[in-house]
């Protein structure tokens, strides 16, 4: 066996080994992805998705104004009473309107904020892909001289001589 042959084989093994270790580590790592571990933590997470009604651009979790503290306390009570995150959020939507949650709706006109970037990214990718396609066609047409080109050259040579 030649040295390069051996190296090529080793390289192939290296990638397989890499894949095996990677997948194994990912499996170990994906287990036990614990969510919030206490009511206090669950409250913090939920509060960070609710806008503080009296602040400018801060969530209930971030702000220290009275209303934000009150809402945090209320969320905590509701959690201990066994309400789910969605139920609690709904309570605030009913009270303050849709703008109280920092996550825009995925339906209706508001849903556009989620869809438009995806569509735009898709279209931009397609446009770049198309450009490459065109360049390739261009390249192909440049690659070999056609019969026509040869005739042209021959003609010019005849003219000169």
């Amino acid at each position: 066996m030649t040295v390069t042959g051996f190296k090529a084989q080793w390289r192939w093994l290296s990638w397989v080994l890499m894949a095996i270790i990677g997948v194994a580590a990912l499996i170990v790592g994906s287990a036990g992805d614990g969510g919030p571990q206490s009511d206090g933590e669950r409250m913090s997470q939920l509060a960070s998705t609710i806008r503080c009604p009296q602040c400018r651009g801060q969530s209930v979790a971030e702000s220290n104004v009275a209303i934000a503290r009150e809402i945090r306390g209320d969320i905590r009570t509701r959690i201990s009473e066994g309400e789910t995150d969605d139920e609690i959020r709904q309570v605030y939507i009913d009270r303050y309107g849709r703008s109280i949650v920092l996550n825009p709706d995925s339906g209706g006109f508001t849903g556009l904020v989620w869809i438009v970037p995806v569509v735009a990214a898709g279209m931009a990718t397609a446009a770049v892909g198309l450009a490459f396609q065109r360049w390739r066609v261009q390249a192909d047409s440049l690659r070999a001289a056609t019969e026509e080109d040869r005739e042209l050259v021959a003609e010019l040579r005849r003219d000169r001589s």
């Binding site: 990677g22 790592g29 602040c55 220290n64």
Partner: protein
């Protein structure tokens, strides 16, 4: 007195910028050397006027000259010297003056740098464009944003309120805004050269070479400014956050994104003469976005925690933005025929192909942020309904883009120009890929869990492997010179970005936060740490009363506090215990009624320190990449080693 001096400075700067630009235009038309020299001399007066204005404002602040309205509104005898100095940019009028000063400084640098080539129409035109932008800012100071309005001091007046308490609570106040402005305003210069290139029709590659360093310079300062801003909010706000996708933060991030895209795509143009329209558009977009961002910051159309200095000048900025956009688009359209380039890109799997993918990603990233930022306005206009677009939206939308960017950062540096074979990729990517697996295994071993962060760490390892490979190969060949030059310096910037990305992913994914009430002497356990409340301490200084709770965190004394400013406002100051691996921040939620019990918020998250380290590394890399790497290769040449050497290094 200060009012008179300051007004004089502003008027001189305004008149000089108008007169200089007209003189230069006439000189250009007649090709009159004498007029041109006069124009240049007048242009210097812009800087003189700006400096005089700024010094007058500082003088008014330092001497507490309350007859100046700006000082009356923002100054106070109580404010400590450093914050008093920084008060010059704590409010709208002052920050516009700082903008003007920085811009005038850039005018001075352009005049010095190009003093021998001022007769070149391209340079003259660029100077005219910069001067016109300068004129806009000084016009603002003559009208709606006048820093030198005078005021009659009312009877019984003792002291002013001082600046917003949030702005006098951290030293970074003195550093972050000037850095940001050096970056923000710096993009005016490449923009001016781009416009000049369009006007003169010299849209070849010459102007690019002139502006590359300027862009890099502005970009570096913008990066530093953004990172320092994140640090500031982390230290001041007390909920463990450093980046809140706030409209104003987004406004500073947008030009950063388009600027970064430009720094990459410009290499395709230098090498292959392609993407001329795109590059010009990116520079125009970057500059326009700084103006649009200022409109968002200053107009108050969007809710932001940064609303320190709203005013009526919003519409003027919007109009200015409109003019810039119209001029840019018009000029690009007019020169369309000259901008077309004959080149083509052979294969998407090549250096230029990866730069195109990079630009695609940055454009998408910027689009998502722009859309999310202005979307509440759109919905309100269309449906008359109020909605909020906040952190959860931005995190979910940008995360995939960020991941693909990390992946690209791993692949792109090993790609040669023109075309790469699968065999070559397998060879060059082998070590980076092992690095990726190593990062993954290490993360799992130290206890990191969850698919998303683990994939982020793996990709980060991959990208870091590719960057290190380039640096190692380059330093092996060229010694210390292997660290400088565009490609190598760029790889150091990449390493900084990767470190920031890892710290961002880790701190976001593994943040733990809770709110607890502690009785004196009580101890609680949270996130494997113990927190004991020992008692209250009160401290009075000239400008505020500080009430701090002494909290023992695993034996370390922390003093989160509430500051009551004598001007009437109350803000908290968290205290942080940080190591290289983990930060624990404790904040007082409210002023304790007595010393028996306090309510605290505890936030603990890993790797915060690396955000700042990564940011610093990005700045260092930027400096390195500004130095030319003149040895065997041009900096734009492919990264690569010959196959023989590769074979020996990779086995």
């Amino acid at each position: 007195m200060n009012v008179a001096i300051g007004d004089a400075g502003v008027v001189v700067a305004f008149v000089a910028s108008i007169v200089a630009s007209i003189t230069l235009l006439v000189a250009l038309r007649r090709d009159d050397e004498r007029l041109r020299r006069i124009g240049v001399q007048v242009a210097w007066l812009v800087l003189v006027g700006a400096v005089v204005g700024f010094v007058a404002l500082e003088r008014a602040l330092i001497t507490r000259d309350f007859t100046v309205k700006y000082v009356f509104d923002n100054g106070s005898y109580r404010t400590p010297p450093i914050y008093n100095f920084a008060t010059a940019w704590a409010s709208l009028e002052g920050s516009i003056l700082l903008w003007g000063l920085v811009l005038a400084g850039y005018v001075g640098v352009v005049l010095t740098k190009f003093r021998r080539r001022i007769a070149d129409p391209l340079v003259t035109w660029a100077l005219v464009v910069v001067l016109l932008v300068t004129a806009f800012f000084f016009a603002l100071m003559l009208g709606p944003a006048d820093p030198f309005q005078s005021i009659e001091i009312p009877l019984g007046f003792v002291d002013g309120p001082g600046p917003n308490p949030l702005l006098q609570n951290n030293v970074l106040m003195a550093i972050h805004p000037p850095m940001l402005y050096l970056g923000y305003v710096g993009f005016t210069i490449p923009f001016a050269f781009a416009i000049a290139a369009l006007i003169t029709g010299r849209v070849g590659e010459g102007w690019l070479v002139e502006t590359r360093r300027w862009t890099l310079f502005a970009w570096g300062f913008l990066t530093l400014g953004i990172v320092l801003g994140a640090w500031w909010s982390y230290d001041v706000l007390g909920w463990g956050g450093y980046w809140g996708w706030d409209p104003v933060e987004n406004a500073s991030f947008l030009p950063w994104l388009t600027g970064t895209a430009y720094l990459h795509s410009v290499m395709i143009q230098e090498r292959r003469g392609m993407l001329r329209v795109w590059n010009l558009s990116l520079l125009c977009a970057t500059f326009s976005l700084t103006i649009l961002g200022t409109f968002i910051t200053r107009s108050g159309v969007l809710e932001s925690v940064h609303a320190f200095s709203e005013s009526s000048i919003g519409p003027l900025f919007l109009a200015f933005f409109g003019v810039i956009a119209a001029v840019s688009i018009g000029l690009i359209g007019w020169r369309g025929d000259r901008l077309r380039s004959p080149g083509r890109i052979d294969s998407p799997i090549s250096r230029e192909g990866s730069f195109m993918a990079n630009n695609l990603l940055f454009a998408v990233f910027a689009f998502v942020i722009l859309l999310g930022t202005v979307f509440p306005l759109i919905v309100e206009a269309v449906q008359d309904e109020r909605i909020s677009v906040g952190v959860p939206y931005f995190e979910r939308m940008t995360m995939p883009v960020g991941m693909v960017m990390l992946f690209l950062m791993a692949i792109a540096p090993v790609l040669p120009w023109r075309k790469a074979s699968g065999e070559l990729l397998r060879k060059r990517l082998e070590w980076p890929a092992w690095f990726a697996v190593g990062a993954l295994v290490f993360s799992v071993a130290v206890g990191a869990r969850g698919i998303t962060p683990l994939i982020a760490f793996t990709l980060a390892g991959f990208a870091a492997g590719a960057a290190l490979r380039q640096i190692v190969l380059a330093t092996r060949r060229n010694g210390w010179r292997g660290l400088v030059g565009r490609t190598n310096g760029g790889m150091i910037v990449h390493l900084g970005v990767i470190i920031v990305a890892v710290a961002f992913a880790a701190s976001n994914s593994y943040l733990r936060q809770t709110e607890v009430t502690l009785e004196q002497g009580d101890a609680i356990e949270f996130a494997d740490m113990s927190f004991t409340y020992e008692g209250l301490e009160t401290l009075n200084s000239a400008e505020k009363r500080v009430t701090a709770a002494v909290i023992l965190v695993d034996g370390e004394e922390l003093r989160p506090a509430i500051n009551q400013f004598f001007s009437g406002q109350t803000i908290g100051t968290p205290d942080t215990f940080g190591t290289f691996t983990r930060d624990t921040q404790v904040a007082l939620i409210a002023l304790p009624e007595n010393d028996k019990q306090v309510v605290i918020r505890v936030t603990t998250q890993p790797l915060i320190a690396w955000l700042w380290i990564g940011g610093l590394l990005m700045a260092v890399g930027t400096v390195f990449s500004a130095f030319p790497h003149r040895l065997h290769r041009r900096p734009t040449d492919p990264v690569s080693a010959d196959p023989a050497q590769m074979a020996t290094t990779s086995v």
